[in-house]
Amino acid sequence: MDNVKLVKNGVLRLPPGFRFHPTDEELVVQYLKRKVCSSPLPASIIPEFDVCRADPWDLPGNLEKERYFFSTREAKYPNGNRSNRATGSGYWKATGIDKRVVTSRGNQIVGLKKTLVFYKGKPPHGSRTDWIMHEYRLSSSPPSSMGPTQNWVLCRIFLKKRAGNKNDDDDGDSRNLRHNNNNNSSDQIEIITTDQTDDKTKPIFFDFMRKERTTDLNLLPSSPSSDHASSGVTTEIFSSSDEETSSCNSFR
């Protein structure tokens, strides 16, 4: 009961948004090690509770958040460790290999981390659930001079969450489609530019036509010159007409 009050007090001390969100190293070095040595803990936020006494959903605390408990490993037989831990409705079954907890600086092994999954029913025909437990224990045994000590382990229990990233991927695809549309519009702009280029060539055509018209005006004066240069027939025609007129004058 005191632990519960302390936990509340601990939570209340912090501004909104701050939570107990420790790393593996912090759990082993700052809390489990001190617990084993019976030293004072940095914060009274981890209660003592036997995790095998109740089902995961019946353990104290907020179900939606990660919960931490100090628990003891009861040795059923002096020579070996039992790997299965039974509860009221099911059992915890170990999965995978125990991982080493290493410090971030000295790369020293300070503990071991075991991952377990909760199964409903009786082994070995239980049904798997999404409840996960991480069990932390020290890697080295305490000095024998300290006398008989309990085998404390630190347990983190939480409900596995399935993240849905498909929506983001689909949205990303739609973004790409929009991007493609932008490219198409830019192509259309290029087409329009090409049309403008065609329009610009027409004025040049008009200019050429106007020049030809100017040449046509010159044709009238130039044609008599070509006739004159080519043959004397034209000159003779003019001279004959002049003589005819002169002869008429003589008659008058």
Partner: protein, 375 residues
């Protein structure tokens, strides 16, 4: 809920953070406890959230500017409005840009179930849009919405604060992020301001191109008019001089022009006579060219006939001018020779009439010879 603020404001014990405790807020807490307070009080500062200009920092530089955090960092930043009517969606930095991805998610209050804010997810791309290279840096941008919308808060019309959470998507250790931060260190020049001018520069270049192209066509169009007015002016001057000498107004415009041209060439008659003799003696040898001017000859005949009629009328009116006008006409024929000219297309068109022209020329020759003997 007031107790935490009370302790927080006084500092003291609350400054100490036991091992294992971190700033790990929910979306609702970010909106209701931090963003709303920042919008209402611009001077509000939190021990967990720092202020930063996201356009002047690369994502790998942000961890160094955060107040706390190991794998995710929180910042207050002002949402920059480039245009008063819209929001800029491209958030550029010197090395790249933040691009929105997915849909904006709504954030509701757990107590009242009312809409209090929106959350936008962005990913950082290295390079220039839209050809950037996607990176692992992710940002969650939180803004007020619903009853806490900026429109309902008068003060926020000037400044629009948002909260950004920045983190790396991969499972790389924080040491990796730190090393990237060191390597990524660079200038603090604002790229967003640089992007604006570059966009503006492109538009003027387009306008300048249009402007450059427009003058070219007017200049080409203006060339022909320069020539036509000159010719018209020449004719006008000639007609004026003719009217001053003669009182006959019944003569047609074409006749006036032709007569005026005769008078204008009177001084050159004396010199033209010599030229006529030379040209006459030389004409027979280049008989080979007879085929080329045949079509011209036809068109020339038509104009010649009209000239004869006008000359006959003038001859009746002015007996003595008749002889002088005849000699002037001869000189007029010489003048065009200096101009030269000819068209290939015209020649081709008139080729079928060549035979008939030859017969008519033979008859004319005989008549001409007889006249010469008489003279």
């Amino acid at each position: 809920m007031d107790i935490p603020y009370y302790h927080y404001d006084h500092g003291g014990d609350s400054q100490y953070l036991p091992p294992g405790f971190r700033f790990h807020p929910t979306d609702e807490e970010l909106i209701t406890h931090y963003l709303l307070r920042k919008v209402l009080d611009g001077c509000f500062s939190s021990r967990a959230i720092a202020e930063v200009d996201l356009n002047k920092c690369e994502p790998w530089q942000l961890p160094g500017r955060a107040k706390m955090g190991e794998k995710e960092w929180y910042f207050f930043s002002l949402r920059d409005r480039k245009y008063p009517t819209g929001l800029r969606t491209n958030r550029a930095t010197e090395a790249g840009y933040w691009k929105a991805t997915g849909k904006d998610r709504e954030i509701f209050s757990s107590k009242t179930c009312a809409l209090v804010g929106m959350k936008k997810t962005l990913v950082f791309y290295k390079g220039r849009a839209p050809k950037g290279e996607k990176s692992n840096w992710v940002m969650h941008e939180y803004r007020l919405e619903g009853k806490f919308s900026y429109h309902f808060i008068s003060r926020s019309s000037k400044d629009e604060w948002v909260i950004s959470r920045v983190f790396q998507k991969t499972t790389l250790a924080s040491t990796g992020a730190v090393s990237e931060g060191g390597g990524g260190g660079g200038a603090t020049v604002s790229v967003s301001s640089g992007t604006g001018p570059s966009k503006k520069t492109k538009v003027p270049s387009t306008i300048s191109r249009n402007y450059q192209e427009q003058p070219s066509s007017p200049s080409s169009v203006s060339l022909p008019p320069l020539l036509d007015p000159t010719t018209t002016l020449g004719y006008t001057d000639s007609s004026c001089s003719y009217d001053s000498r003669s009182t006959n107004t019944t003569v047609t415009a074409s006749a006036i022009t032709e007569h005026v041209s005769c008078f204008s060439t009177v001084p050159t008659t004396t010199t033209a006579l010599g030229l006529d003799v030379n040209s006459f003696s030389r004409l027979p040898p280049p008989l080979g060219f007879d085929f080329d001017p045949f079509p011209r000859f036809v068109s020339r005949n038509v104009s010649t006939q009209s000239n004869f009629r006008s000359f006959q009328e003038n001859f009746n009116q002015f007996p003595y001018f008749g002889s002088s006008s005849a000699s002037t006409m001869t000189s007029a024929v010489n003048l065009p020779s200096f101009q030269g000219g000819g068209g290939v297309s015209g020649m081709n068109y008139w080729l079928p009439a060549t035979a008939e022209e030859n017969e008519s020329k033979v008859g004319v020759l005989h008549a001409g010879l007889d006249c010469i003997w008489n003279y």
